[in-house]
């Protein structure tokens, strides 16, 4: 039985799909990494800067250099003996205090946040969150590749937990091993990995990430993946064997996920992604789980300071043979960088599901103000639909401070 869809839903769906189509087609729009707006510097792919071909995580030496040259605010002209195109000595691991061998990539990320949330009719909720405290490593001698992360989560991130506490857990978001071919054009690997789906950014609470369960906070799954990283086409397909850090087996999702991305021009890309999984029991609802998502995404940089990123995904849930509900989720994000290292971000998002239509807007700013250090502030207003046709207005303020090693 299809879920009832109101005229308003259809209108919103049409509007959002139109918006996405506009972003993808007329802006001549790619695949994303943790900072997908690096496309403004014509970095359409991720593997040149990241150990993971689909983005995020440990940085290559080249990625560190470009991060120092292009990511952070630079306050002065090159010092005597330095050339304009040279990264500073602090670009390396631990601010350059230690240089690992070529076959070893090391990194770490520490992100703390203050989150103030106010839902209509309830008192404000103030939370201080250690969002991330991970150490990462990757080894890559010859054709062998293996990567992993180990960290601490004060709260949440339970699906990535190694220990079994309700809070204060050791977590391992990623651990995998594999082999690379043809100068890393191909990578076959197995283990726990981020799901190759949609725009991979740090905004893991965006509905496009939450509703599709593809965020880089704790939505990784164990499985086998094959990635291709060509000049104009990139893609990764992964067979999901389940999250073996979740017990019992009945709660583990199994299925497949993948994306394909095409570089239209050096600063425009467009891609497709799909996912389907099933589980005997859904960790969230406790019912049988059969879900799928399919959608499009794109990035484009019409001028150097501006990057537009868009994603729209259809949501399909079929917990029982006779019950199918359809929904959709989408977002459009603009990143404006008036001065190197300073970003103004505006994001609109929408989610349509059986509860109704939810819409949200983000306005934020980020400043990469020191080597390996950045701060970000976001104001978020969301109208969240709940069962029964009611909506709740939720206002949030999020301040983050991030260090990476």
């Amino acid at each position: 039985m299809l879920a009832p869809r109101t005229t308003q839903h259809v209108r919103l769906l049409s509007a959002l799909l139109g918006l996405i189509a506009f972003a993808v087609l007329s802006l001549a729009t790619s695949r994303a990494d943790a900072y997908p707006w690096m496309i403004r510097h014509e970095y359409t792919g991720c593997a040149i800067c990241h150990g993971d071909p689909t983005g995020g995580g440990v940085l290559t030496p080249y990625g560190r250099a470009q991060g120092d040259l292009l990511l952070r605010t630079r306050y002065s002209s090159p010092k005597p003996g330095e050339e304009a195109g040279d990264p500073s000595k602090t670009a390396g691991f631990l601010w350059g205090a230690f240089e690992p061998p070529d076959w070893l990539l090391l990194g770490g990320s520490f992100r703390g946040a203050t989150l103030v949330t106010k839902a209509a009719g309830t008192p404000a909720d103030v939370r201080y969150i250690l969002m991330q405290a991970d150490l990462r490593a990757m080894i890559r001698p010859s054709f062998f590749r293996a990567g992993g992360a180990i960290g601490f989560a004060h709260e949440g991130a339970l699906p990535a937990a190694v220990t079994s506490n309700t809070a204060n857990n050791v977590v391992s978001r990623e651990h995998w091993a594999g082999v690379a071919f043809k100068d890393d054009q191909f990578l076959l690997r197995a283990g726990r990995m981020n799901l190759p789906f949609g725009i991979r950014n740090i905004d893991h609470t965006l509905w496009v990430r939450k509703s599709t369960r593809t965020d880089i906070n704790d939505s990784q799954e164990h499985g086998v993946s094959f990635a291709y990283n060509g000049d104009t086409v990139r893609g990764e397909v992964m067979g999901i064997l389940g999250n073996f850090q979740v017990h019992p087996d009945a709660y583990r999702e199994r299925g497949a996920v993948g994306y394909l991305e095409y570089t239209i021009s050096p600063r425009y890309t467009a891609g497709l992604n799909g996912l389907f999984t099933s589980a005997l029991l859904d960790r969230t609802s406790g019912t049988t789980l059969k879900r799928g998502s399919a959608g499009i995404f794109g990035r484009g940089s019409p001028t150097l300071p501006l990057v537009l990123m868009a994603e729209a995904d259809m949501l399909i849930n079929a917990p029982a043979a006779t019950s199918i509900s359809l929904g959709m989720v989408g977002m459009l994000q603009a990143d404006y960088e008036p001065k190197q290292g300073i970003h103004v971000l505006a994001t609109g998002e929408v989610r349509v599901d059986t509860s109704g239509t939810s819409a949200g807007g983000w306005l934020g700013a980020a400043w990469f103000f020191l080597p390996h250090v950045d701060a970000r502030f976001d104001g978020i207003v969301q109208s969240v639909a709940s069962a029964g046709g009611t909506s709740t207005l939720v206002t949030s303020f999020l301040g983050q401070l991030h260090f990476f090693l």
């Binding site: 909720d125 010859s142 004060h154 857990n169 979740v246 019992p248």
Partner: protein, 323 residues
């Protein structure tokens, strides 16, 4: 200098501030406070099981939130609210049975006349899941040590193995062994001559619905403080050693002396279990693929595997097998 001071101040505020006030531990608080066998699902309070601010909209959740002023992140307040709801005999769904009485009975206080809200296997996270009291941690630490020693020994004997490659192999082997050692993978593949299913339980005494197929469940749970089952056992495709995973797509039908039928479906390990009381003596039937077979005599004990061992004990003909 100002930048450094600002950074330090922000770091102090953001990284070393107080604890969070989410409600992730509420299900366990309810379970503990009301002595339930399983923690209730998020759907008890959150409509559709979707958590987050503004989603506490079920009948039970709304009552707790609006009438008893329950807020997030306060387990002490939650226990107080549960006590008050019990005293007040709050009946959110108006079916004549109080909310707390329904929770204790294992039914849904949001659905008039029943609807099971507890009883599904507890969802746990991490590699080192709960171990029954009094039991040692899984002995996989020893396995990890042996595996690591073996890998290093083999690698040391390989000539012409590039240094970086060798070091990398050590690191990868150590990482993989560590993951296995801490027990994320509680079921392993084995050859079919060991287990006909090709799968064996390797999670030690880690609490899991899949644990130790073939073992006498109730006897072990009684000795070690595990969940109280009235009936429990394992269905196998054939005569099989302990710890081999059994048959799926099968069920046990128990007909009590009072004529009430209880159907228990075997899980992916072939294990079946129930906490519900059954009037003895009862009849037992194994059902699978449209076929069935009935146990010869009525039974009074539910610890099936205590007699249905691999060889069979107390005149039992070996395992509980498919019809």
């Amino acid at each position: 200098m100002r930048q450094i001071a600002s950074t330090a101040a922000l770091a102090g505020i953001l990284l070393f501030a107080g604890a969070a006030s989410a409600s992730a531990d509420y299900p366990d608080t309810v379970k503990t406070h009301l002595s339930l066998t399983s923690a209730p699902e998020c759907a008890l309070c959150h409509a559709g099981g979707m958590t987050g601010l503004g989603t506490v909209n079920t009948l039970f959740g709304t009552t707790a939130r609006t009438k008893y002023m329950l807020t997030s992140g306060n387990p002490t307040l939650l226990t107080s609210v549960l006590d008050k709801m019990k005293t007040d005999k709050v009946d959110s769904d108006g079916d004549g049975t109080g909310d707390i009485a329904e929770l204790i009975a294992g039914t849904d206080p949001n659905t008039a006349g029943g609807g099971k809200i507890v009883g599904k296997p507890d969802l746990t996270y991490g590699c080192v899941a709960t171990v029954a009291p009094g039991q040692p941690l899984p002995s996989s630490g020893a396995a990890f040590g042996l595996a690591l020693v073996a890998v290093i020994a083999v690698a040391r004997r390989r000539r012409g193995f590039v240094g970086a490659s060798r070091r990398s192999l050590f690191v990868a082997a150590a990482a993989a062994s560590a993951v296995i050692a801490v027990g994320c993978y509680d079921v392993s593949y084995v050859t079919s001559d060991v287990c006909s299913s090709g799968l064996a339980w390797t999670g030690g005494d880690k609490a899991s619905p899949n644990m130790h197929p073939g073992f006498a469940c109730i006897d072990c749970h009684t000795a070690n403080g595990g969940p109280h089952f009235t009936i429990a056992g394992t269905i196998f495709p054939s005569k099989t050693p302990d710890d081999c995973l059994g048959a799926t797509d099968a069920s046990i039908e128990i007909t009590g002396a009072d004529g009430k039928l209880l159907t228990i479906t075997a899980n992916e390990a072939g294990n079946f279990y129930s906490e519900l009381a059954v009037k003895t003596p009862y009849q037992v039937k194994v059902v699978s693929g449209g076929k069935s077979k009935i146990m010869g005599s009525a039974q009074t004990t539910g610890d099936c595997n205590s007699c249905h061992t691999e060889a069979g004990a107390n005149a039992a003909p070996g395992r509980v097998t498919l019809p």
